[in-house]
Symmetry: C2
């Protein structure tokens, strides 16, 4: 009978498209919306459209931002000669929380994966190469996840940048192998930065 409330079904379907939301959770979330006031539902819908409208990639580091240039790239106190390469904004946020790293970033928005057919053209690699060619960068720290894709991506980047005479390092295995950078605790992340090795 739930199929008879068409609008509820359609909303649950939309929730079901979000990452990690199953059928039962999607229906629960849809019911939450019905329990909202009209004004609350409008604020929610507006927040979705605003986020989509305002958030874009920083032209310098490709980090997600709703400003013209992201706050990290605009921060003059940060060391622009060190670039930390991460797979996504979630990893960047995790590293920023530790307050150990004072360089800048480059966000790839993905990792190389022959299995999922993700090639160098599908991630922000060209932007990294252009940046290394045009800016005064002394070290590139690769902080992709220590998974198969993350290691392959790190290896690919190091081979690409080494010939240009740039120091390319990889964060240490303080992060449990197979785990996700996003969920690492502050201490583990700090260790990983301290113990980084040159390729």
């Amino acid at each position: 009978m739930s199929e008879s409330i068409k609008s509820l079904e359609l909303l649950a379907e939309q929730f079901g498209k979000l990452g990690g939301v199953g059928k039962r959770t999607a229906m629960r979330l849809a019911f939450s919306v019905v329990d909202m006031t009209e004004a609350e539902a409008e604020r929610f819908a507006e927040a979705i459209l605003e986020a989509k409208r305002n958030i874009h990639c920083c032209p310098v580091c490709q980090n997600l931002t709703d400003l013209e240039v992201c706050p990290i790239c605009s921060d003059l106190s940060r060391d622009r000669t060190t670039v930390c390469v991460v797979a996504d904004t979630k990893s960047l946020i995790a590293i920023e929380k530790v307050r150990e790293y004072n360089g800048v970033y480059h966000v790839l928005h993905g990792m190389l994966s022959p299995m999922q057919n993700i090639t160098p053209d599908d991630i922000k690699l060209r932007e990294l190469i252009e940046r290394v060619a045009s800016e005064d960068i002394k070290e590139v720290i690769i902080a992709t996840n220590p998974t198969t894709e993350g290691e392959a991506t790190a290896m690919y980047i190091s081979r690409l940048l080494k010939p240009a005479g740039i120091k390319v390092t990889r964060i240490a295995n303080g992060i449990p192998v197979g785990g996700e950078l996003e969920f690492a605790d502050a201490h583990t992340l700090a260790c990983a930065f301290d113990g980084r090795k040159e390729y």
Copy 2:
């Protein structure tokens, strides 16, 4: 640094208001929206507004519906002399899935709770009394959850309706005590209907 992406923070805050969504999940869901295409985000926002605009209470049984009268109340093959009283639409959906019950419903949209200050005026009780007074109803089956609030609500309704000479029954304890009707399996729910006792 996540606080620097204001639109993302605001969206995560909105997700956090939905039932059972913690801070980390809210942020994950907000990132899912950023990963959507513009068209997908618009469809999502529209589904929220549509659900809120279209879904209202059926004037007969108070069930949520986006039609003028809900499909159960408009179904002429259903027995209108038997009314099953449930706390919410989720319970109704659970019962409908079993396909054992052929009467109609009355949705209270809540249960009496002195602790949470929910009084008879806060739920759709007046509508039930008016219905019993004006329609030809032979039996009222109370199918609220077997929790403290559910039992208290059932007791309150039975005392209210018994003097009017109506048969008031309670679904049997096939449902595990303390559990939630929404999550009961089909067989347990069927047992509960079969074993109902008169007050």
